[in-house]
Assembly symmetry: C3
Homo-oligomer: 151 residues x 3
């Protein structure tokens, strides 16, 4: 069947397999942020919509611990979709599998650590800044490489 060509090519190439693997981890990591926010809302009884407060018999309010999780989530939203796109385009510029995988793996660890030091166990700066900057540099490097390749 015709479609087996594209599917077969993308799913047998270790470069794209690596990309798809780390994308899947990042998707699941980012999804956990919603659950984390929901869990903390239940624990602290802090809700933002009137209809959510009914069962818990509380008023809508905000809570710094929950706002912190939401800021970590927003930081994911600002950064991770850019990784998805820039890493895919970067794959098309023909990097070595080992080098690209190193970038993807480092990026993924940086984002996991970012969540930990931001939302789970807040650590003094510059811990959060450092993990953020490494992920940012990787995305920027891949986007710049792609820019010059496709110019």
């Amino acid at each position: 069947m015709a479609s087996n060509n594209v599917v077969g090519i993308l799913t047998s190439d270790p470069l794209y397999r690596s990309y798809f693997f780390y994308c899947s981890i990042l998707i699941l990591k980012m999804m956990l942020m919603s659950s984390l926010t929901g869990m903390k809302r239940m624990i602290y009884g802090v809700f933002i919509n009137p209809e959510d407060t009914v069962m818990h018999k509380v008023k809508t309010s905000t809570n710094e611990k929950i706002e912190r999780v939401r800021r970590a989530h927003l930081n994911d939203v600002e950064n991770i979709p850019l990784f998805f796109v820039s890493a895919f385009i970067y794959c098309l510029t023909g990097p070595s599998v080992a080098w690209a995988t190193l970038l993807f793996k480092t990026y993924t660890w940086c984002r996991i650590l970012h969540t930990i030091v931001y939302a789970i166990k807040p650590l003094p700066q510059p811990s959060r800044m450092l993990v953020w900057v490494v992920g940012y540099a990787i995305t920027g490097y891949m986007a710049l490489s792609s820019l010059f390749y496709f110019m």
Copy 2:
């Protein structure tokens, strides 16, 4: 022409056609959130930027009905891009067309209903929670399937 190969393969395979179709609906649905916010800002005369208030001769302010639309929009922003990526990678794992289409269609309906019960006609919980959870479970299922496939 060389490019007709990839284009031809992707655009003739019912699996990818289904994916592209539901992505297009979700893009349009998500775009409507911006228009909805803009319309409600006009109706209520509630603006967040000083330069937006000049024509309407009002001060910047916030309004719970508009904040509700913006939260629904933010929920889209947090969830729908993850669907775009996880559903594409999931297609490459070789699911049946019928099963994948069922997942895409259900997800799309859940997100449309989510907007309705959150931003258009607020309903008591757990209506919003239920439609959100089904969409979340579909994204998670596709991402986990992809993770194991490309491990």
Copy 3:
């Protein structure tokens, strides 16, 4: 090698080269928003997390100039990922290279101008509205074209 097929096809077709080029610019533009926010936080000494204030010996606070940059950033987050997906799917509907490139280039300029008139040098309305609407119309046009093509 098998993967050279897909890579070769996508990277030699001027349509996809154009798409990858403008995506890379938009990624870099969007990344600048984080740097801009960070820089303004340093300049004004305005931070949102307690751990960020330690070095600067200030309390957490908000500042309208920084909130403005963050709103411009959020507007990118709401719109640009939709462009990435709708423009890719639109490429598969077989538009002419010249027309598609015109759309991508116009969109990219609109988003750059949007940032300038929103966050860097605030201008009276309808300047921000106009650049936003053109980008919005391009995304909507591509998504609608894709919808009818893959229906």
